[in-house]
Amino acid sequence: MQQRNNFSWAAHFLLPAIILGSLVGCDRAEPTAYKIPKETREVSMPMAPAATGPAMASTGTPGMTVLPGMAEAADEAGTILYTTPEGWTDLPASGIRKAHLQVSDENGSADLTITTFPGDVGGNLANINRWRGQIQLDPITEADMANVAKPTAIFNHGALYVTLDGGVDSILAAILPFHGYTWFIKLQGSSATVFANESKFQDFLNSVEMEGHAH
């Protein structure tokens, strides 16, 4: 009887111990090599991540089309200097983007991009309506412009301050005509994040300084 008890004691303890011990071994990360079907890269331009963090890695989202000469034209426009607000990340800019910053909080994230183009790029109304389309808002007419775009000053030059509240996503932007170029400073992302950072966005605009060949 005593013999049997000893055996069952060992069986009860040793077996789980061996199983658990071998399982713990499974948890270790190891280098691996594997084959995958051919992958194609569809986007090679930085683009704004979607409102939630994980969606950043979404594949196949249409990126921005860069027309020949656009990047060169942007290079011609000179440089913009600014102070990165606290808590924002300054990301690498490339192509037609002069700067790319990002801010995220518990509500989502928002991207600030600075682009510049020669001329007036179709006029303020066309640009505002293009942005409205990006956040699922209907276009407006010239008469409604005053409701969304207010005059402001950036680097002592007249500019427009644009507020577009799209519900889920929103845009705060400034349009600055400067020596033959138009500069677009746009904060776009989840509405809560965008509006929570409005004062930092305004501080950012106040920190802007332009250095141009034309100045």
Binding site: P16, P31, Y34, K38, A57, N107
Partner: protein
Amino acid sequence: MKALLKFFSSLKLTVVLLVFAMMLIFFGTLDQVQYGIWHTQKLYFESYIAIWAYPEQAPGYEALQWLHIPMPGGYLLGGMLLINLVAAHVTRFKMTWKKSGIFLVHFGLILLLISELLTDLLAQESQMPVDEGGRANYSQSYRENELVLIDRSNPDYDQVHSIPTSLLKPGKVVDVPESDLKIRTVRYYPNANIGRAQPGSPHDSPATQGAAVKMNIVAHPAEVTYDENSINTATAFVEVIAPEGSLGIWLVSNIIDDRFPPQMVHSGDQSWEIALRFQRHYYPFEVELVDFKHDKYPGTEIPFNFSSEVMVHHEDHTKNQKALIYMNHPLRYEGLTFYQASFANQDRTSIFQVVRNPGWILPYLSVLLMGLGMVIQFGIHFVGFLNKRSS
């Protein structure tokens, strides 16, 4: 030996362990405010010892910052409870028909403890974003990262060599699997701020190749975030070593992703893309998102339904499957469970939580056993009581 068995099988130990378990849950819940659920789980429940420190945000921190309370962690408590229960059975319980219900309850409990451990060790969670009309054949983890070297020279397939970032320790050299290359980690930051170096200001970057040099990118370590909605920008400076010598040092980061031109490593006539990215899990099938629906209550922004209509295309066409994934109706396919988790990109991208948990059936089974045990035990007593009355 006997004394040891007596200690492990005692009911007093059970009570003490249960009290510690309550403590662990209480302090774990408090720390969840600070660390979020994922990290708290690691600190308190997937550990042997947990230490609660008086939180900085709490009132009176100045006076109480010395306060640290150590307690046994989840693994220790679960393991001890398991040993306690098994030991009690070996020493005290006799298998009789009258006690069969209790045995079933205990067996269910043992199974539950084991299933929790199995889930901890074997379960794998990741996310799969799919665009409407698009397909995805992999999911990715947003907590673990991997350093990959991808050889795209073969016209039929891409060869991926992957090294988990947990192996990237500064100064350490890791062999790249199935290749002649080696990786020496120069620096590794679990989270970092990445930006362009300010012109004129001195910066210290060990990179000698790739995007960091071309675009003048620098990385500064940042505090790791445990916020569930934030992502850590895992970043490393790695030296690639070929048999003929060092090829240079690259800056890799999960923020320098597919949106950027690939960084290339060349050795002889071979070349690889090098990247640090969120750990990917590839599958032998593709999930196509046919349609994503995000219904709102009329006239409001309040959602009442998210659903994704998907078509799964398997390499083996007989396994193709159509499914509608929505709240509480995941798709179970090939040992994986796809839950509707989130959406993005103005409702054009659906994000699935992909869970591989080989032990998913065990908790159901153990709860069933415990329920059955209770019914049997109660039934035996009830019948005994009725018999007593009628006699």
